[in-house]
Every structure is written in structure tokens, then in C-alpha cells.
Amino acid sequence: MPIALVDCNNFYVSCERVFNPKLEGKPVVVLSNNDGCAVARSNEVKELGVKMGEPWFKMEKMAKQHGIIALSSNYTLYGDMSARVMSILSEFSDQQEVYSIDECFLGLDGFAPEYLVEHGQKIRRAVRKQTGIPVCVGIADTKTLSKLANHCAKKGFAGSGGVCDFGRLSEAQISKLFGSIAVGEIWGVGRQIGTKLAVMGIETVEALRRADSEHIRQQFSVVVERTVKELNGIPCIELEEAGTPRQQIMVSRSFGQPVTALEDLSESVAYFATTAAEKLRKDGSMASSLCVFIRTNPFKEDEKQYNRSVVVPLSRPSADTAMIVSAAMAGLKQVFTAGFRYKKSGVLLMGLQDKDTVQADLFDQPIDQARSEARMRVMDKINKKMGKGSVTIAAVGVGQHWAMRRERKSPCYTSEWDELPVAR
């Protein structure tokens, strides 16, 4: 079955441009949490040589010189635009695997091979027209190949008009094309594996495709062997369709400035636990345990380092904010040690189960359970109506000294009544 990988071009930058057309044609970079480093770059910025992950302080001078516009990440906006794009894409196939915020696989069963490119063009036009977001489409027989086809479409190596179907290329064309692409561009081949492959003389996609998969398995793992098979058009990685429930929920952030006091750390952990519990309820799940972690800044080599985590089992699966926050606080007290400058903390909810299939145990008190659910419904409702954080557990605090630095954030154009775009 042919598989399409649809990937949004410079997604975060594209989202910003939809609502701020002034950014069109200008070098734009979106910075990570705390305005730390580049997480999205416009083509103009890429041409200036700014690398992904480059710290802002390193490019600040160059930014001034070239008029680079830097924006804080606006995940509320990107999340909404992503949901719109994915919903549109779902209309083009019964089999959709949303792979990340800006890319998804579509199974294209039943399409005539000669029609695939046209279908890809239709997909591009629909998303562009309805949301303003440009996308590229890669089509091939396996997920690994469709990722690669997408890369080729985006870079203009093959295909045309942002769509590349490997099925349209002859074996000789494929061979030549793959020979010109570095092995590191392959999905699942990281820097470590790439370096080791290079030592073995495997430097291009073509070389890996031609490699003996048996030998590769011995040298690496079944994972890399699978990649070799996929490059040869043998599907080994299945489409994971929507509905696969999340296994974990992670909420963590770096702090705007280092935090030393347990009180500040407690507020942040309580806040993350609250957010995680909200996500949990939205998914209709319950968590059976959670993990709290705190750490110092590993890049500050001159500072004393500390990095601890602890798993706290819940007495029974729960989605109750009060329960989850108190468990997280108990965990934090276990791992906290005074005298360090903490840079990051987080809460990870684990052992997620569907709330309707959680087994009742002897400790369960149905009335308490119903009360907890009712309480949480009211809390979620108020927060939805009055704004996030209107009602919360007292532990979250009100000052939030640890909050993220987001000095260059654009308005929430689609989620706040006061921040809608304006037309004269």
C-alpha cells in the first residue's frame, strides 16, 4: 500500500505568517521555551546559515545585522493550527497516523498509481487554502521511504510542486537520487548510528539500501535492519492509526531563571501536575503512578550538578488533580536537596488506563469517585470559561517566579477573544 507523509513546511513560522502577513519573505526564527534556541526557521533564516537548535545569544548579533525577526514559541496557536491541518488531512484517507505536531502518515490504499501525484497535489492545495499552511507530500511504499520522499519534495531533489512519489521514478533514477543523499537523513538514523555507518563505509542512502541486512542487524540492532528493509520497499513499520491511547503524559519546562527554594520548586511541580491531570481527563484516562524529576543546568559546568527523579505510585488509578498534586508534592520532597540552582522540573504520568476500564478494587469508594469526578468537571469548566488557572490547587501558588520567559510571543489569534486578528 502506498503511504504518504505530509509534513508542514517550517510549521511554527508558517503559523505565525498566516496571522501576521508582514513576516512573509522576511527571515523569521521561532525560539524554544525561555527564548533559548531556534526551534523553527524560515527559508530565509536557513539560507543565512542559522542551524536548528542554535542558541539565541549566539545569533543575536547576526540577527541585528540581517533583520532576523525572533519570536517566542506560541504553542497554543501551533496546537490549534495543527488540529485544523490534521483534521483536513483525515478527509483524504481512512488511515491516518498523526506522527507529530506538523506531520502525519496517510495510507493511500485503493488509489491508482498514476493518480497518486495528483492526489498529493490535492492534499497540498486543500491544506494551503483552508489554513494558509504550506505542506509537502512524499509518497512511497514504506514509512521510511515516504519520509525520504518528503525530504526530496521539500528540498526539490525529486518530484515537483512539493509532491514526490518514488513510484514515478525508475530504478536507475532512485539509485542516483539515493546516492546523493547522506545516510543521516534517513528516519531513525541518528548521529551515533550515522557516524558508525560512515566508519563502515556506508555514507549514502543508496549504500545503506544495498547493505546486507543480516550484517547490519549484527552490527546494530533489528531497528536498523528494519530500516534497510524499509529502504528496499519492504514494509516493516505499520501505520499506527489514531486512537492508540497515550502511554504517558509529560509536562515539564525549563525555568526562566534558576530556582533554589523548595517553595518555588513546589509551585512549579504543582502546576505541571495540574496541567498533566487536565490532559489526563481530556483523554478520558487515569494514571496509576507518576514520576517527578528536578535537575540543575547541565550546561553550567561550573555549577554543582544535581539530577534526581522518583516514581510515586498512586493508591489507586486517578485523574483527580488534588490526588495527583499531592502525590507529586510527596515525590518532590523526597528528591529535593537544598543548595542547588535548579533549571528544570517535570511531572510524568504513567500507567495510563482508560477511565471506564479501570478495575475497581477493595479500596474504591464509588461515592468518593463520583465526587472526585464531579469536582474535576466543575474545575475544568470554570478554567475553560474564566481562563486557565482560575481555579487551582493552592500548592500552585500565584506568583510563579519560575515561569517561562516568552518575551516575543505573538497573540493567541485563535484562542483568546482579546487577541483576535484585526482587519480595517
Binding site: 487554502k129 489554513t131 522518583v310 477493595l362 469508594q365 483576535l420 486578528p421
Partner: protein, 148 residues
């Protein structure tokens, strides 16, 4: 998180396990006759569906200024804009002019598109041949609220 995760079983009792109650019959049994209206239940009307049938391509934009008062669009009005629709002459559109959003009638003048205000105090913006007019979306309704 490089460190091995410690399991803290000792925390379990600390997390508020309360006295044990054994639930025997926790579900209510439904008895009596079903409501005679049940067969006639239909979904309540939805403003979302009415105003924004294309939810993926619909955005809200705030109107500013007086250039469209003749069309009933006043300063501060909320406009429902569908990006997915193809604009036709006569539509009210949100267009991009010099990097800014503007709301005007899409007009045709001597075979070329133009943006026409609905207020004699404002001027029509004409586009020469080869000059690009970027339509951002089509205004499908405006929402005026008199009190909340």
C-alpha cells in the same frame, strides 16, 4: 533523567488511603416508564454549525474602523471568516494589503479586481495588471452583541 528511578513504595500509605468501604450495590436501577418525548429527541441547534460549517477553515477576525459601515460592519464587530471559500465579486473579503488585513467588498472594475469600501469617505483600492491581490478569506457573517 539519567539517574535510575527509585521506587518509593513507602510513600503509598502516605497518600491518603482512607477507611475501607465495600461497595455492594453501587449502580442505580432504572425503573418506571421511559419518557414519551424520548422518541422525539433531536440535537439542539448549534450556533457553531450554523455560523461555521467549515470548522477547520473558519477564523474570527475583529473589525476596526468605519470603512464598511454601509455593509453593516462597525468598529469592534466580530467577523466570521472562512479561508476555504473561493471569493466571488460581491463578497466581503479579508485581504492582505501591504502586510495588513483589510476588510472590503471584492469588486470588478474594467475586468480587474478591486477592493471597495462601503463608506463614501474611503477610496477603492485598484490593482493593476500583474499586481497581486491576496485574499485571506471570505467574511460569511458578523456577530454583534448588544449585551452579555
Amino acid at each position: 533523567m539519567n539517574n535510575p528511578i527509585q521506587l518509593l513504595q513507602t510513600l503509598r500509605p502516605a497518600l491518603g488511603v482512607e477507611p475501607i468501604h465495600l461497595p455492594l450495590f453501587s449502580d442505580r436501577v432504572a425503573a418506571g416508564f421511559p419518557s414519551p418525548a424520548d422518541d422525539y429527541l433531536e440535537r439542539r441547534l448549534s450556533l457553531d454549525e450554523h455560523l461555521a460549517p467549515n470548522k477547520n477553515s473558519t477564523f474570527l477576525v475583529r473589525a476596526r474602523g468605519n470603512s464598511m459601515v454601509g455593509a453593516g460592519i462597525f468598529d469592534g464587530d466580530l467577523m466570521v471568516v472562512d479561508k476555504g471559500l473561493n471569493a466571488q465579486p460581491g463578497d466581503i473579503v479579508v485581504a492582505v494589503v501591504d502586510g495588513e488585513f483589510t476588510v472590503k467588498y471584492l469588486g470588478l472594475l474594467n475586468g480587474l479586481f478591486c477592493l471597495k469600501p462601503a463608506n463614501p469617505r474611503f477610496q477603492t483600492t485598484e490593482f493593476k495588471e500583474g499586481q497581486e491581490l491576496e485574499i485571506w478569506g471570505v467574511v460569511t457573517s458578523t456577530i454583534k452583541q448588544f449585551r452579555r
